[in-house]
């Protein structure tokens, strides 16, 4: 079975799989419109018709479909890699899945509207006033000139930075905890992680733990734990502390 010759009959495309790939790569077909699940089902059905398991074809197909899916995901969220990059892989995957589901629902809603338009296409009505109807005068109460000044001032105001607030609320940035732990360790040699994050939400605790790993990776801290699930003790790395204290001394003596 030759995967590239797989015949597809999708909403957005009809023809062999390799033509679809070509069109997508030439950007002549919007990948966002391609129903990848439909391709998978077509492949499985074809496989079933043949009645034997063609491992080589399965392998090739998996590689192609995985690539297609990745391209599609990236195309759907072009500017948000940075935003998603802030998240842990699992969280990012969850966020992507959530948005894909939302997009998919909207596409279905659009299909419902299209169908409705088709059904209601034979309803003609008048747009605008009747031919011989009176033209009403729309009177306006006296207005304050200050309203105009306020409107223009608002247009001249710096726009709020593109808000990622809803993401941040759920997933505070790792950076915040990195800074916080550094500040803590500038004041004392060690602290108890559990005591420090005890009052935070689970998500925040998870992100705080990521910050710990980050600091450990950079060799800024040492982690100790007496036993699994025992409180985690965080302390400054000795070498680093020494250098910092030297600098501090110099600074103070100057």
């Amino acid at each position: 079975m030759i995967v590239r010759e797989l015949e597809l009959d999708l909403d957005a495309f009809e023809g062999p799989f390799d033509l679809l790939l070509t069109l997508v790569l030439r950007e002549e077909l919007e990948l966002a419109d391609v129903d990848v699940a439909g391709i998978v089902v077509a492949f499985v059905e074809r496989l079933e018709e043949r009645g034997e398991l063609d491992l080589e074809a399965c392998g090739e197909f998996l590689v192609l479909v995985a690539a297609l899916l990745e391209l599609k995901a990236r195309a759907l969220f072009p500017d948000e890699e940075a935003e998603l990059g802030e998240l842990e892989p699992e969280e990012a995957a969850e966020e992507l899945a959530r948005r894909l589901a939302e997009y998919r629902r909207m596409k279905e809603a659009a299909a419902v509207l299209a169908e409705r338009l088709e059904q209601e296409g034979d309803r003609f009505f008048r747009l605008g006033p009747a031919p011989l109807a009176p033209r009403p005068e729309r009177r306006l109460a006296p207005q304050e000139p200050e309203l105009l000044a306020a409107a223009l001032r608002a247009l001249a105001a710096e726009p709020p930075a593109v808000s990622l607030a809803h993401i941040e609320r759920r997933f505070p940035p790792v950076r915040r905890f990195v800074d916080r732990f550094r500040a803590l360790l500038a004041g004392r040699r060690r602290f108890s992680f559990d005591a420090e994050v005890g009052e935070l939400s689970r998500v925040e605790q998870a992100v705080a733990f990521l910050a710990l790993l980050e600091l450990r990776k950079a060799n800024e801290i040492a982690l100790e734990q007496a036993a699994p699930f025992a409180p985690i003790q965080v302390s400054r790395q000795e070498i680093r502390r020494k250098r910092e204290s030297d600098e501090a001394w110099t600074a103070r003596s100057a």
Binding site: E45, P78, M106, A109, L113, A114, F124, R126, A151
Partner: protein, 200 residues
């Protein structure tokens, strides 16, 4: 001999119905029973009764003028069997050639309520600027203030014309978002069907 007829024609409810006909034929958009009651200077209950009479008189198959319930009110339109004749005479600037992008944008605005171009782009994954501009021009969506009060991005919502074009009594007539499955079930079913065939 013509007594009974005369009686009917001076029946106050019939008079009210005539007044409502007049109001509906000059109105540029659907009128609610409340609008009609105020204009006719009559009470709501009687207006509702008269509307019932008119709905019967102006219905498909009986009259070329049809009274329909749409966009939260009542409006006259052409009977469906005159659609071909209407097409020969009238342009349809609103619904003609709505693109897939426009329909998706329209769904997002209809379902998510007032939202900005960045909101729409976030769901669609591509810029919504030209789709939004096209829908505003057709009068299917309109501005609804700005995000964060002043200064933010302009937000849009669907217009009564949207409901009219799509023949909706109100937005609540759209299928619930929860009922628009993500299609996963259907795909799973098809795959199961294949699997069952295999073991059979």
């Amino acid at each position: 001999m013509d007594r009974p007829l005369r009686l009917i024609s001076t029946n106050p409810l019939d008079r009210l119905a005539r007044t409502l006909e007049a109001l509906l034929v000059v109105a540029g958009q659907p009128l609610t029973p409340e609008d009609l009651a105020v204009a006719a200077d009559d009470d709501l209950e009687r207006v509702e009764t008269a509307l019932g009479l008119l709905s019967e008189r102006y219905r498909e198959g009986r009259s070329g003028i049809v009274l329909e319930r749409v966009a939260g009110g009542y409006a006259f339109r052409a009977a469906r069997d005159a659609a071909l004749a209407c097409e020969r005479l009238f342009e349809r600037p609103v619904q003609r050639g709505l693109s897939q992008a426009a329909l998706e944008t329209l769904s997002i605005v209809a379902y998510l309520g007032p939202c900005s171009r960045p909101d729409i782009a976030r769901v669609r994954g591509v810029s919504a600027d030209s789709a939004v501009a096209g829908l505003v021009e057709r009068g299917l969506i309109g501005e609804a203030g700005r995000e964060d009060g002043a200064g933010g991005a302009v937000r849009y919502r669907t217009t009564p014309l949207f409901e009219r074009v799509f023949g909706l009594e109100s937005l609540s007539e759209l299928p619930r978002l929860d009922d628009l499955g993500d299609g996963a079930d259907e795909i799973r079913d098809r795959l199961h069907a294949v699997a069952d065939q295999r073991t059979a």
